[in-house]
């Protein structure tokens, strides 16, 4: 195995002014485990693609390099579990790699079984549809297909960014086991599981310049300010946040906003087609509650939100602000005061500019007032004020904040959110949470699906747990401290 290296790399995205990299040099020794950190947009993923040769072989970008040493054999695991596979079944996907390598058919079955074992992916029958697997399993399948290439070097581009805590744990365990003798280069924001495992950490700044290169201990001790500014989930980020002024002032005098019943539910059921997917025996929500809805993947958390929003067929007693809601098949009106923020912000945007996006749902408000209202939201959600900018052109964090802002009309007083902090970096996560807490103190009621136990422990006023399509409520009054007692 050789070193992998680039010397004096220059690279530019078409249509952008500055260079992404200006004379960047970087090299990795055989067997080294390297973690690249930096703010989003600093070019880490791009560098990974250059080092593997994906740029310029598969993605054409103008680049200039004095010297480049690419690995002989390599594998690449990407961020999104849903866009890495071209086949429908597990065995077919793995066979696709073996076919590319011209492995004879007789050897395929055995090698498929072997590699599935190697990544701890235990499926009864390898001929299982990929769509039926959890996101964490899909990422392990992606790892398996890459291991079939027998790579010397493994490139990992945020492999756990879109996974829940359980999936994250599994993928890193598999990676550690399978890559002991390999060179591994990782880009990742969620690093608590790998901070001790890597040999070397490389830190980039906003301009694609390498500002630090050293052992994990060294970097985490000396560059905390940068790590914090770049929104990296470094070990201990929550502990530090909890001692911050912002958090302290938020939680010091946390109390119920008003004792007014916002939602009342009894014997409530939600259906997809004919099948009952969620049932609630009894639950109430008070004004100013921040309820986190937790539960395993596929247990029915999102279904619960869709049912409350009346996007699925429901029956039972369900009152919002004292008004009984009855499901109608035709001429359906969504409950007044309720709004839902979906997981994918882009699917929620309906117009071509940020301002329009915020005014489009304000039916009946005079134009000047609506624009003023939008301006206020743009300011308070820290969004760029631009007349022409398309919502799709925002950064990931901005898109997410805009999607929450779009749900806020003057009539909204109950906000349903489906994993609003999912896939966000630390800085964006805290920004969203602080914004939600501010809304809560102003009287907003929040119901939010999340996997993040830190959020549950530190922000929820009550926890709802969904198990196999049944809601078990665990109402807790009194704020964060009491929640902690009940939860642990």
């Amino acid at each position: 195995m050789n070193n992998i290296s680039v010397t004096d790399l220059r690279l530019k995205f078409p249509g952008e002014d500055g260079l992404l990299f200006k004379d960047l040099s970087f090299s990795v020794r055989p067997g080294e485990k390297v973690l690249m950190l930096g703010p989003s947009g600093s070019g880490k993923s791009t560098l990974l693609q250059v080092l593997s040769g994906i740029i310029p072989n598969s993605i054409e970008l103008p680049l200039k390099v004095k010297d480049i040493q690419l690995p002989d054999s390599w594998g690449f695991v990407f961020q999104d579990p849903d866009t890495q596979f071209c086949m429908t079944y597990v065995d077919e996907e793995l066979a696709f790699v073996l076919e590319n390598l011209q492995v004879p058919r007789e050897e395929m079955t055995l090698r498929i079984e072997e590699v599935l074992k190697r990544v701890d992916l235990h499926v009864k029958d390898p001929h299982t549809p990929i769509n039926e697997m959890s996101q964490g399993m899909k990422q392990r399948l992606a790892l398996a297909s890459v291991l079939l290439l027998e790579p010397d070097v493994l490139f990992l581009d945020e492999p756990s960014a879109l996974l829940d805590p359980e999936g994250t744990q599994q993928i890193w365990t598999s990676i550690k086991e399978a890559t002991a003798d390999k060179t591994v280069i990782i880009v990742e924001h969620k690093i608590d599981l790998i901070a001790d495992w890597v040999d070397r950490v490389v830190l980039f700044n906003d301009h694609g310049v390498m500002i630090a290169d050293g052992s994990p201990a060294e970097i985490f001790a000396n560059f905390q300010q940068e790590l914090k500014r770049y929104g990296i989930w470094y070990p201990g980020v929550w502990e530090e946040y909890k001692t911050s002024k912002a958090f302290q002032s938020m939680t010091k005098n946390r109390q119920a906003v008003a004792s007014q019943e916002k939602i009342q539910i009894q014997d409530f059921h939600g259906y997809r087609g004919q099948a009952e997917k969620i049932s609630v025996k009894q639950a109430t929500v008070q004004a100013g509650d921040w309820i986190t809805i937790v539960g395993e993947n596929g247990s029915g958390k999102s279904t619960l939100l869709l049912s409350l929003m009346q996007l699925l067929r429901t029956n039972g007693v369900y009152e919002v602000n004292g008004v009984p809601i009855i499901w109608k098949k035709k001429k359906r009106q969504l409950p007044k005061g309720l709004s839902l923020v979906f997981q994918n912000p882009e699917l929620q945007f309906v117009t071509n500019s940020i301002t329009e996006e915020l005014t489009v749902s304000l039916h009946g408000m005079p134009k000047a007032d609506a624009e003023h209202y939008a301006k206020e939201l743009i300011r308070s959600f820290n969004l760029p004020y631009s007349v022409s900018r398309h919502p799709y052109q925002l950064s990931t964090g901005q898109k997410r904040r805009l999607s929450v802002a779009t749900a806020l009309t003057p009539h909204t007083d109950i906000l349903l959110l489906d994993e609003p902090t999912f896939g966000q970096d630390a800085r964006n996560t805290f920004a969203i949470l602080e914004k939600l807490e501010q809304l809560r103190t102003e009287g907003m009621t929040i119901l939010m699906v999340t996997h993040d136990t830190e959020i549950v422990v530190n922000f929820a006023t009550a926890i709802w747990t969904v198990v196999d399509g049944v809601l078990h409520t665990a109402n807790v009054a009194g704020g964060a401290k009491n929640v902690q007692l009940v939860h642990t």
Binding site: I59, F96, E99, N100, L101, L149, Q348, V350, Y392
Partner: protein
């Protein structure tokens, strides 16, 4: 959605090499298209009807459901031809409508042709597995692998797109988007669905393409096959039976 396309029983048609089946059925369609003889058209429709109703292996319920579009296309092409077709021997006339002996003939001919198209098309779709079809096309007919895998990958994306469509519909409801009435509203609706779905799909397609190349897929490179397909006895039988059937359909129509 794909579960719907599971047959009740796997008939012998399932075991035929899908690429061969494609070529034979394609030939049927060409013959149907160029044929001008009414008796032959009818006997063909009957033959393909037997294939569809007896040998596709699907339950009668599903088959009758699939027959609905066939009947509609039969009636619509037939009736248009019947009422507006040219002809000398006029039997009945009322305003623009004119039925003549020739137009009856033409109506039946066109109707049987459209039925044949439907039967053959459905029988093919119902009795192949798409993945195997493309594997066979690569192996038996040297279809370049890039086309085969494009189709297979696109097929895999259909459920994702339908799910996104559903989410988009819900999101528009939640955002309380009201469309204008009439044609303008239709345009607005179309735009608000297609733009985000296209954006997602293009991005997804590009990522998959990069991932495929990262797995060392190379266009035009030699490869082995996980599903080896070849010609078996069943294929010879299939070919023979199909030729015989077509010939007898032809002879029946000539020597009535």
């Amino acid at each position: 959605m794909f579960n719907w396309f599971t047959p009740k029983r796997k008939t012998w048609l399932f075991r035929v090499n899908p690429a061969l089946k494609f070529i034979v059925f394609f030939a049927f369609l060409i013959i149907t298209l160029v044929n001008q003889s009414l008796p032959f058209a009818i006997s063909q429709a009957v033959l393909y009807g037997i294939l569809f109703y007896v040998f596709s292996g699907y339950s009668l319920k599903k088959l009758s459901l699939l027959s609905i579009p066939l009947v509609i296309s039969f009636l619509s092409t037939g009736l248009t031809m019947l009422l507006f077709g040219k002809g000398e021997a006029v039997l009945w006339q009322w305003g623009l409508f004119k039925i003549s002996e020739e137009s009856i003939q033409h109506a039946l001919l066109l109707g049987s042709k459209s039925l044949s198209f439907g039967f053959v098309g459905f029988t093919f779709i119902l009795t192949i597995q798409p993945v195997l079809f493309f594997y066979a096309m690569m192996q038996q007919f040297r279809l370049p692998s890039k086309y085969a895998y494009s189709f297979i990958a696109a097929f895999r994306l259909i459920p994702a797109v339908t799910e996104e469509l559903q989410i988009r519909r819900n999101a528009l409801k939640v955002r309380n988007i009201q469309f204008s009435k009439g044609v303008k509203g239709l345009y607005e609706r179309l735009q608000s669905y297609t733009v985000p779905l296209f954006a997602q799909s293009i991005r997804r397609a590009q990522r998959i393409a990069v991932a495929m190349e990262a797995k060392q897929y190379q266009m035009g490179a030699a490869r082995t096959y996980y599903y080896p397909t070849q010609y078996n006895t069943i294929d010879r039988v299939f070919l023979l039976v199909m030729i015989c059937c077509l010939c007898s359909a032809f002879l029946l129509s000539v020597y009535r």
